[in-house]
Point group: C2
Chain length 375, copies 2
């Protein structure tokens, strides 16, 4: 059995490790060589994915193809599929999710709670919508946004006008949604098979003070009723969007205990990295199992609590040898270093997961380890 993965970053690298344990060989496609996953996969393919030769090689080398990013244009996925590739999640489901506006309307059509929004074909519509939804208003690009890129919070009509002047957006670029005054951001990892059977992981809290995820607390420090509601919503979203494999459902928890779905990532997700050490089956192994239509493993936690902290780049530098020793000396700490070629500000260079009896204790250990790592 051979798994093709479109993308060679850390998500692909951790998927490769899970596949290797099951004896599944991996073929990683990436645009450039030397990415994290290429150090550990069976075969790497480099080149433009619109190139028919690259496509043919990828199809020939893989029994199933999956993706580590929703940014690959759906028409390329459909092209691969029409040439015989078995792609999971399906190109049709990825097409809906990769456009955040169609994602939102699909969730809404299934009566799932999302922040009210409107497409913004032009400035006039944006000014109308801002009257309807009020300020602050969140304006987002429909495609390719991540870690805060492509998200704009505007406070008044002059800011809307300035944004439109700056972007000169084509009519299908932007949409708006009402800003949600959340008190916590939650995430639930779900793994779903094609027959609709699924497992969902414990609800976690994600903290992204500068839009980039810095910290994940597992389980989220919320009451069981709220946690059960978040899980139910996440599972319903996975069903509604007909996704296969591991996905993340990111949610906002408001002060009145209401929960809204923010965004769906149709792939293993940063908020599920804790599962490698803290869960009976990791999000990556369950992803591999799901795309090969194998029974899913338990998503329960094997540890009482886990905290994951991302190792984010601070400045633009080349990699110097990393001294792992001070971090590894801290009890309960697991270090993942992705092996990227260069450090960039806010780039995810690795992550730390600390296991402990309580979230507070795990948090203390994880941050102590993070501070001990210099690179």
């Amino acid at each position: 059995m051979r798994l093709g993965i479109l993308g060679g970053g850390q998500l692909a690298k951790m998927t490769v490790a899970a596949a290797a344990q099951l004896g599944i060989e991996t073929v990683v496609w990436s645009l450039t060589p030397g990415l994290p996953a290429s150090q550990a996969c069976t075969l790497t393919m480099v080149g433009g994915l619109e190139d028919p030769v690259v496509q043919a090689q990828m199809i020939a080398a893989s029994d199933v193809i999956t993706l580590e990013s929703e940014f690959i244009p759906a028409d390329i996925l459909l092209q691969l599929q029409s040439r015989g590739a078995r792609i999971l999640p399906t190109p049709a489901s990825v097409a809906v999710v990769q456009d955040k506006w169609t994602q939102k309307t699909a969730l809404s059509a299934h009566h799932l709670p999302v922040s009210p929004g409107r497409a913004l074909p032009d400035l006039a519509s944006a000014l109308d919508v801002s009257k309807e939804l009020g300020f602050p208003l969140v304006i987002k690009t429909r495609r390719l946004g991540y870690d805060g890129h492509g998200t704009f919070q505007v406070e008044g009509q002059t800011e809307v006008e300035a944004l439109f002047r700056r972007l000169s957006p084509p009519p299908d670029l932007l949409f708006a949604e009402r800003s949600i005054p959340f008190i916590r951001e939650l995430s639930v990892i779900v793994t779903r098979r094609q027959d609709g059977s699924l497992v969902s992981y414990p609800v976690v809290e994600t903290r992204q003070p500068q839009f980039v995820c810095e910290e994940v607390l597992a389980p989220a420090p919320i009451n069981p009723t709220l946690a059960a509601r978040a899980k139910t919503l996440a599972e319903a979203a996975a069903q509604a969007l007909n996704l296969v494999g591991t996905l993340a459902v990111e949610m906002f928890l408001a002060a009145d205990d209401s929960i809204m779905i923010n965004e769906i990532a149709p792939r293993p997700h940063n908020s599920g990295h804790f599962s490698i050490e803290a869960s009976h089956t990791s999000q990556f192994e369950n992803h591999v199992r799901a795309v090969f239509d194998l029974p899913l493993g338990s998503s329960e936690m094997a540890s009482s609590a886990a905290v994951m902290v991302n190792i984010l780049g601070q400045s633009e530098t080349t990699i110097t040898p990393l001294d792992l020793a001070p971090a590894l000396a801290i009890p309960g700490v697991h270090v993942h270093w992705y092996g990227k070629d260069a450090v960039r500000p806010m780039r995810k260079m690795g992550h730390i997961t600390a296991l402990a009896d309580s979230v507070e204790q795990a948090q203390g250990q994880a941050w102590k380890a993070r501070r001990a790592l210099r690179f």
Copy 2:
């Protein structure tokens, strides 16, 4: 950081996975291509290890070199070392351990309990020794024995004579030891750093009804006093032999509660595979940490009980696609499939680890999964 591994089998494959998590690239040397580890390492080198070009490439590509088998002749390891390789465990310590007779005399010199034995330079000495040690007598080859290969149990003088006629052994081939009427075989995995600091894993029971390990029960169902004694012996053996990295100390437990050291394997070992899922830090990650002189992780179990069952080949066949589904459907079961190119009788094709609240329960699940796997 780059780790060279001499050997490309399943032990190398699982070491590669542990190294990759820490961002350590791996260079695997093997005599033939297509072995399990080559599917997942950064670089594979194929060719005779006595070839100076292969040696030079391996040294250039690795910051530290380790081994997955004690069968690589110590003089080749010494040659690599003299050409600048940093090899751990050290060639000197491997030289002592890879000859089971010098291993035994070294343990004995450190007052560690081993079965009494004698070198057998010729038939006359063998007949003398058999009078001294009695029958049944165990005769072993000093080097290259494994899984029962190279071990002969003889019941009388005519059998000794027949064995000598059959083998025509050179004077340094054989030694004899008193047969130990054990009631259980125990093993302790130890990981030791160069400064002598070490961790040891819980004592496990290994079962090898046909010389090949079939099953490992963790923790061993023995009383805490015995377990503590076995741990102490194992740690003392690791110190006595000055080994660095992960090693296994295999022991016999007799009906009178005495414990004797049977053999030492100076590398990660089949009896420690349970640690991948059941322990806070696996024997493989601790091996990598030790050879890079990094702080060792906790060797405590994260699960109450674990049972590992080897997936042994039954007949000589090529690999047909493995249906993992029935095994993965069993709760608590983790399947490792090594990806070997062909099935041979008693060949280790993979293993299953089941986690549960008790050893009995884990054993039930592991064997249920084993029976469900057909290949």
